[in-house]
């Protein structure tokens, strides 16, 4: 086909879709989170003493940190889905979360009696924690991906990783309301690992499904 014929064809439908990726991503996030909630509430549900224990800062941060990570990473994923900013400004701010996790871990290490450290670190719920974070993140990740596909990420794997980080943030915040492991020796490690797994999955999926 001649290029000028193609141009004629394309010029026949000039009007660009309006509204955009951002609005769809927020809608997708809402739907994905509702699905995650529908999975979470009947199977796990928040711990009975949640409102009480959450008043302790060391318990509150395990919900607050991932809850803040969600929107920040989502914003970065949306920027990354724009062709000119594959690695958006502000992406370095994400180091704040591993830094906080490390700080919490070191604090807990220093304040926990040596004999109690291993018990707190291993906890009793790793086999629930990791799968739960991944499963709860999945619907959010899929819903956000559907919106990001409308974008034009020039580094699809990075965009997918940011989406994974966002989904993991929201999913982990939700899961943390169930989890009664309140030592950072546990959650700074295992939550981080769960978030890392979802982020890696997002990167792989992005490399495959966010190409255009």
């Amino acid at each position: 086909m001649k290029t000028e014929d193609l141009i004629s064809q394309l010029a026949g439908e000039p009007v660009a879709a309006q509204g955009g990726v951002e609005r769809r991503a927020v809608t997708g996030l809402g739907i994905g989170f509702l699905i995650a909630l529908a999975l979470f509430l009947p199977v796990l549900g928040p711990r009975p003493d949640f409102l009480e224990v959450v008043q302790r800062p060391i318990v509150a941060v395990k919900t607050i940190l991932p809850l803040l990570l969600g929107p920040v990473a989502l914003l970065l994923a949306l920027r990354s889905a724009r062709p000119t900013t594959p690695a958006p400004a502000g992406i370095g701010a994400l180091w704040l979360w591993p830094a906080m996790a490390l700080a919490l871990f070191l604090y807990a290490f220093a304040t926990t009696a040596p004999g109690a450290r291993a018990v707190a670190f291993l906890g009793h719920s790793i086999p629930i924690c990791l799968p739960a974070i991944v499963v709860l993140a999945a619907p959010i990740l899929i819903a956000v991906f559907r919106a990001l596909k409308d974008g034009a990420p020039t580094r699809p794997a990075l965009c997918g990783a940011l989406a994974g980080l966002a989904a993991a943030g929201f999913a982990t915040a939700l899961y943390s309301t169930f989890c009664n492991e309140d030592s950072p020796l546990f959650y700074a490690v295992w939550y981080s690992l769960g978030i890392g797994i979802v982020t890696a999955a997002g990167a792989v999926a992005g490399g495959r499904y966010l190409r255009w």
């Binding site: 290029t3 193609l6 394309l10 010029a11 009007v15 660009a16 955009g20 020039t154």
Partner: protein, 181 residues
């Protein structure tokens, strides 16, 4: 440079709001630039530069909603062109992509290589029936776009665009399939 930026931004803005003539002018004027980018990014593929240019044009068309009015248009354009040109190079540069050349698969099919025929059949099953029909008709049966258009009630140009898009999707499917294996 500033002139070109503001001129193209204005044309593109008007195009996105429904001005077909402005949009056509925009696409026509950016095409030589795309051709240069495609040529620079695709060493050793001179015969296919025009195909890549057309892929970039279709990408611009498909992703034009990701450009925001007020945002510089040149960086946006270059980002799209570089991505698609690199993508085309990545795909074409790999000799093992099965739908790289339909003629080869056709030859395989006729000489009875069952795996290639099966591969193509599987790939075609992955896209919608009409697109698969168009690919079969043009790529395998060798019908003209006009003949196919008459059968599907489409204009010749629309058939060509549909064929091009179907091929792009088949390549995507083939890439995905290859990665899985």
């Amino acid at each position: 440079m500033e002139n070109r930026e503001s001129r193209w931004a204005e044309l593109f803005r008007r195009g996105n709001r429904g001005d077909g003539a402005a949009y056509r002018t925009f696409l026509t004027e950016v095409t030589p630039v795309l051709r240069r980018i495609a040529a620079a990014r695709s060493p050793g593929l001179s015969a296919e530069i025009e195909d890549i240019v057309q892929e970039v044009l279709m990408a611009i068309h498909g992703k034009r909603h990701t450009w925001r009015e007020g945002e510089p248009v040149l960086p946006w354009l270059y980002a799209i062109a570089r991505y698609k040109a690199a993508d085309a190079w990545r795909r074409r540069g790999r000799p093992s992509v099965p739908v790289e050349d339909l003629a080869e698969i056709l030859a395989d099919e006729r000489s009875g290589d069952p795996s290639a025929a099966r591969d193509l059949g599987q790939l075609l099953a992955g896209i919608d029936t009409r697109s698969a029909g168009i690919v079969r008709a043009i790529g395998i049966e060798g019908e003209s776009a006009g003949e196919v258009g008459a059968r599907y009630g489409m204009t010749e140009g629309a058939v060509r665009v549909a064929y091009h898009r179907a091929m792009a999707r088949l390549r995507g499917l083939a890439d995905g399939k290859e990665e899985r294996e």
